[in-house]
Amino acid sequence: MRHTKRNTINYSELDDRELVRIYRKNGDERAFSVLLDRHKAKIYSYIYSMVGRADVANDIFQETFTKVITKLDETYNEQGKWIAWVMRIAHNATIDYIRKQKRFVDVNSNTTDDDYDFYERLPDDKLIDAETRLEKDEAKNSLMKHIANLPDEQRQVVMLRHYYEMSFKEIAELTNVSINTALGRMRYALINLRKMFEQENGDEVKYAKR
């Protein structure tokens, strides 16, 4: 454990395992805060990219870390990576929401996956920021739109790979499929995205010709 001359802990230099141990043992909030700062973006981005709504992403993010805090003593095994454990909790919470939402949509809703957009349903105070971002980077926007239109299973694999940097073995374990299935989903996701980009480019060419 790294300490300064005055025997105060330099939290940012500690690895996850040491920070978790400190928080677990002493309830040291600063240790947890460093952990949260270190990983919040990838956890939140994954949740957000899967549900496509800021308010829902906020709830799932909070639910995830509430579980992390309350289950830390009971469930977390220090042998494993803390962040992998957190990712699993976040993934399960996200999938639970999507399943519930699907059941609800199947019966009641007229909306489809075509309505889905990362920024479309942002709260009002975020809308201006989102629109600015849209204008600044149209390519990024279209990418996110296309990803939002992927089937859930394919989007899941793409996001787990991108945000959580998981191997296909880990993705396969997390999603309860074989490695080949996970790889197949990734392949279909790329093929679908390629089609969407081609279609988009084709439309642009059509508009340009008019």
Binding site: F32, K42, F65, K140, G184, R187
Partner: protein, 207 residues
Amino acid sequence: MQNVDELCIKYLMDELDPSEKILVEKKMREDPNVLIEIESLRSTLKKLDALPFKNPPGDVVDRVCQIARERKVNATKPIPLMNSFGSNARYWGAAAAIVLSFSVGTYFLFSNNSQPANLNAAANTEVTTQKSNQANSNVQPWVDHNNILYIQANNTSAGNSSLASQAATSSTDSVFMQSMKKLTPLNGTMLNAQKPLDLHLASDKQE
């Protein structure tokens, strides 16, 4: 053998072992369609790098920190011993129940089996049984009219009750029972006598 599509995506995702990698690269050189397919997917995959990372709103982070702080308050309270015993308590309970039931079962099993064995032993080995019945009393050996040696504390009462029960089981008459009651113990020197021993009845002693 895996098909080309599987090999392509595995190659792209770096999920092949070196020999398979060489095989795919060879196919890419031989078949331009494979090369085009892989490069096309690679190009699409590269676009994913542009996916942004997004931070959660500050108020959400604050709420999470608040929850973490509340856990801290709980953590500073002394943890009851049972908590440290924790989730293992049910396993300890189950183990105790198994051990207890095993012990009780074993006890009944052996107690039932040993009873007939004792009865048989009592019936077959008179001397041994009588010895065990009078472990804490004064041992005074004596013989009956058939010159059978008995060793027991109260020569008349205990010995006779034992013999009486034996007599009852062998359907001897009451005269025999009465005569047995009149038997008196002999001193130790008589035990060493080689000639047949006389009966000495308590009430009919003849000088």
